[in-house]
Subunit: 361 residues, 3 copies
Amino acid sequence: MTQTISLNAVPRPAGGFFFEDYTVGRRFHHVVPRTLTAGDASTYIALTGARNPVHCCLPLARQLGHEAMPLDDLLVFNAAFGKTVNDISYNAIANLGYADVRFMAPVYAGDTITCESMVIGTKENSNGSSGIVYVRSRAFNQDREEVLSWARWVMLPRRKPGAEAHEPNVPPLPDHVDPKNYSVPRFLKPAALQPHYTGSGLLWEDYTPGETIHHPGGMTIEEADHMSATRLYQNTARIHFDAYAAKEGPHGKRLVYGGHVISICRALSYDGLENGFAIAAIHGGTHANPSFAGDTIYCRHVVVGREKIPGRDDVGALRLRMIGVKNVSLAKLPDLGPGEKNDAVVLELDYSVLIPRRGTT
Amino acid sequence: MTQTISLNAVPRPAGGFFFEDYTVGRRFHHVVPRTLTAGDASTYIALTGARNPVHCCLPLARQLGHEAMPLDDLLVFNAAFGKTVNDISYNAIANLGYADVRFMAPVYAGDTITCESMVIGTKENSNGSSGIVYVRSRAFNQDREEVLSWARWVMLPRRKPGAEAHEPNVPPLPDHVDPKNYSVPRFLKPAALQPHYTGSGLLWEDYTPGETIHHPGGMTIEEADHMSATRLYQNTARIHFDAYAAKEGPHGKRLVYGGHVISICRALSYDGLENGFAIAAIHGGTHANPSFAGDTIYCRHVVVGREKIPGRDDVGALRLRMIGVKNVSLAKLPDLGPGEKNDAVVLELDYSVLIPRRGTT
Amino acid sequence: MTQTISLNAVPRPAGGFFFEDYTVGRRFHHVVPRTLTAGDASTYIALTGARNPVHCCLPLARQLGHEAMPLDDLLVFNAAFGKTVNDISYNAIANLGYADVRFMAPVYAGDTITCESMVIGTKENSNGSSGIVYVRSRAFNQDREEVLSWARWVMLPRRKPGAEAHEPNVPPLPDHVDPKNYSVPRFLKPAALQPHYTGSGLLWEDYTPGETIHHPGGMTIEEADHMSATRLYQNTARIHFDAYAAKEGPHGKRLVYGGHVISICRALSYDGLENGFAIAAIHGGTHANPSFAGDTIYCRHVVVGREKIPGRDDVGALRLRMIGVKNVSLAKLPDLGPGEKNDAVVLELDYSVLIPRRGTT
C-alpha cells in the first residue's frame, strides 16, 4: 500500500532544472517536508472562503468517523504540489495539465507531508528551445502512508536551445480514475452529512448527468491574497511573487498560482454541491487561461455522471466538470463543451467528489 | 439557561431569501457550524491588530480564572454573524442596526459555534419594492450553552415588487441591555488585570461620564484585509468579494463588511480602554456610512456611564459610545451627539465593557 | 541565567514618550505579553514564505532534539520587538540600528513572551529638536528564561524643541557577539539536518569567506502583507498602518516595518543557506533605505567568516552580511562593502547562523 520511491535525491542546480535534466525514470525527493496545522486550516479559510463543514466543524468530523477535522483536500493538494515546484516547475513556461490525481487518505492537523516525483515522459518541442516533461508525484504522511498521487506535465525551456532531439516518450495516462480506486475510509459514516450541517438535502441521486449548476458567488483576487496562499504552500515559483521581474515577462505582471484558482472555485461551489464532502480524484485538468490580481472568479459545474463505489451503498461519487471563469457573468456565458475554448475560462477540471447516497440515510 | 430554537430548517432558495419569505416566527437553523481554533485567533490578530491580552496571553487568562485563552468577543461575534448571512442578509440592501447583543459565555479554541435565528418583525417600505426584517439570532457552543444573542434588522428587496401590503410588525426591542443580564463568569478574578499586563491602571472608577477618549491609532483598510477577515467568518455576502458585479452596484465597488470595521475600532481603542477586558453587551449600533478599501479608520469613545453589576464589587461595566470615522483627523471632528449625522462617521455603537473595580484590587 | 530587570513600570503618556523622557537607567516593562501559537507560525509562513524545515517539519524538529517545532527566530524577534514599540519607538523618526542581538533559547508554540527594556544611552542632536536613545531590550518566556536580548537605537523628537542640552552618553556596544556566547541547546543534534530535509548538503566547511551568494527569488510587498505581519507582531507604530496621516508625513505613504523586510530576506535566502538552521546573533544592522508597498525585495549574502563554537565540533556558525535591496536585479548590483551606500539597499545585517559541521555528520 505504501510503496516508496527510492530516495536518490538529485542535487539541484542553483537556477533550477531545465528540460535536458529530465530523463524518464529520474527521481526527485522533494525537500522541506511540511507539518500542516490548525493554523494552516484557518489561514486556508481566510484566503479562500472555504466552507465545507467536514474541515471546520469538529462534531461533524467526528460523526463521520474521523478522530479530528481532516484538512481540506485542496490545502493538502496545494501544499504537496508546492513541494514539487522547486524541482519540477521552477523554470516552467506553462503548467499544461493534470491527470490521475488520487486523494488516498485523509490528512489531519499535525501530519507531516513528504513528496517525491519521478519523470514518466519527455517530449521535445519542434522549436528546439523547450519540451514537455511528464511527472508522477506522490505525497506521504509521517507513517509513509500515501495520501495523494498525481501526474502533471509542464513545458520547460532547454538550458541550451537547439540541442539534438531525442525520441518522444509520452506516457500512457488514464483518461479517468476508476471509481474502484477511490479511497473511502472504512470508518466513514456518510449519513452524518445532514442538512442542518451542510445546508442541503441534495444527495447522489439528486444530481442528473448533463445538468449545469451556476454557483452564485464571485471572488476577486488580490495580489496579497494569492501570494499569501502560495507562500502558505511554500511554492517558490517566482512568477507569482516578483513583480519587478514579471514586468519583463510575457504578461508584464505576476501570475496567480493555478492551485489558488482551483481552491477559489471549490469554495464558490459549496453553494450547490454542499454534500460533495471530499474530492476522490481529479481525472484531468487544465488552466486554460492565466489569472491575474483584479480578476473576479466565478464557477459553473456540469454534472458528468454518477459513479458507484464498489462495496459501498451509502456513498457514491459525482463526476463533475468544473469550469472556472473570470470577469464574465455566468448567465451570459454560453454552454461550453469539454475543452471548448473561451477567453473567459481560466480553469477546467474533470473530477469526482464523494457524496452520500440516499440508500442508507 | 439554554433554551433552544426549534430546528425546522427552511430550505433555502438558490438565490437566497427575499422580503416576502420572512414571516414573524419563522425559524432558521444556520448551517456549517464552525469550530474556532488557535489558528483563527492568530489570523484575527493579523487582520485587526487586536491586542487585548485576555485573548493572547495565556498566563493572564489563567489568572483571570479561565482554563485557556478565551477567543476575542468580536471574533466570536463575527463568526456567528457570518453564519446568519446566507439566510438573513444574503440579499440585503442595507444592514440597518443591532440591538440587545448579549455576550453570554466565553468561547475557547476548540469550541464549535452553531447559530439559529427567528424572525421577530417585518415592515414593508412604502415604495413597495423592499421592506425591513427584524431577526433575533442566537449562537450556541457544542454543549448547547448559549454564548451570544442578538437582534438585528436589515432592509431586503421584495422578490416581486408591488405586492400587497401587510401590517407592519415592529418588535419591541430594549433600548439597552440591563446590567443584571450581563454575563460575568463566577470564576472570574478581574484583579488579575494588572498594569504590567494591560499597560494601564485606569479602572472603572477612573472613567467619567461625558469624557471623550481619542484613540491615537489609525488603520487603513485594504481589499485583501477585509476580504480575508470576512472569509475567515465564512460570511458569503457577495458585495464584499465580487468587484466585477459591484461595478454595477450602488457604490461601484466592494463594500467593507461592517463587522470588520467594528473589530478595527475595538482594536484601535485598546489605547485608552486597556482594562475593558470583555464586551458585555451591545445596546445598539449602526453603520452610519459605508467603508471601502483605502479608507483609514479612526475611533473616538464617549463614556456614557458607569454600571454596577449585581452581586459583584470587583467588576463593573462602562457604558460607552464608540464612534468610528474615516479619513478625518479626530482633532478636527466636532463633538457628535448620539445618532448625529456626519459624513465621516462609519460606525456608532452603544455598548458596555466589563472593567475591574478598584474595590478589591 | 535569568537576571531580571526590575518591574518599575513607567506610566505611558497618551501620545507616547519623547526624547526628554528617556534617561539612562530608566526601565520599561512592556505590556501585553504574547502567547505565540501554531496559528502564528502558519500566519508567519503565509506572510513571509519562510521555508526553514526546523520550524515547519515536526519529524526534523524532533530529530534535532526539540520536543516540538521551535518558532521561527524572526517571528519571535518581531513579536518581541513589537512589544517594545509602544514605549520605545512609538514616536521614532527613524530606527537607526541594532547591535548585540542574541537568540538565547528556542521558543515553542504555547510559550508566552514578556519584554523589558532599559535606556542605556542618550545623545541630543545639535538641531535641538531630536535626539538618539539607546535601549537594551530583553524577552523572557513564561519561566523567566531569557530568550532574546538586543540593543537598538532610535531617533526621537523632543516634546519641547530647543530645550537645554545634556551630556551625550553613548553606550559601549560590542561590534560583534562573541561565538562563545552563542546559545546552542545541549540537546541539539545538528546531524539531523540531512539533504533530504533541507535540500542541500552544504555545511559549515563548504562556505568560503568572501564568497557572495545571490538568492534567486524576489518578493513584492503589498500593503496588506506588511500590515498583516506588523499587526501579527502587535506593533503599533502608526506609520505602517495609517495612510491618511502618512500623506502628510515625509514619505507621503505608509512605510514597511523593517522587521518584515528582514523576514522576507531571511526567507528568500533559504535557497543557498539551507542548512543555516538558526540565527545565533545579529551583530549589527541598519535599514539603509525605507521600503514601501510595491517594492520588490531581493537578497544577497556575503560570507564574512566561519566561527567555531566552544565545546561543539558538530555545529559552527557562519558570519554573514545580508544585503537586502529593492527593485534592482542582483546581477546588475555592484559589489558593496560593509556600510557602502547604494539607493537600492534597504537592509544590511551582520549576523551569524548556526550550521552543522561536517565533523560528525
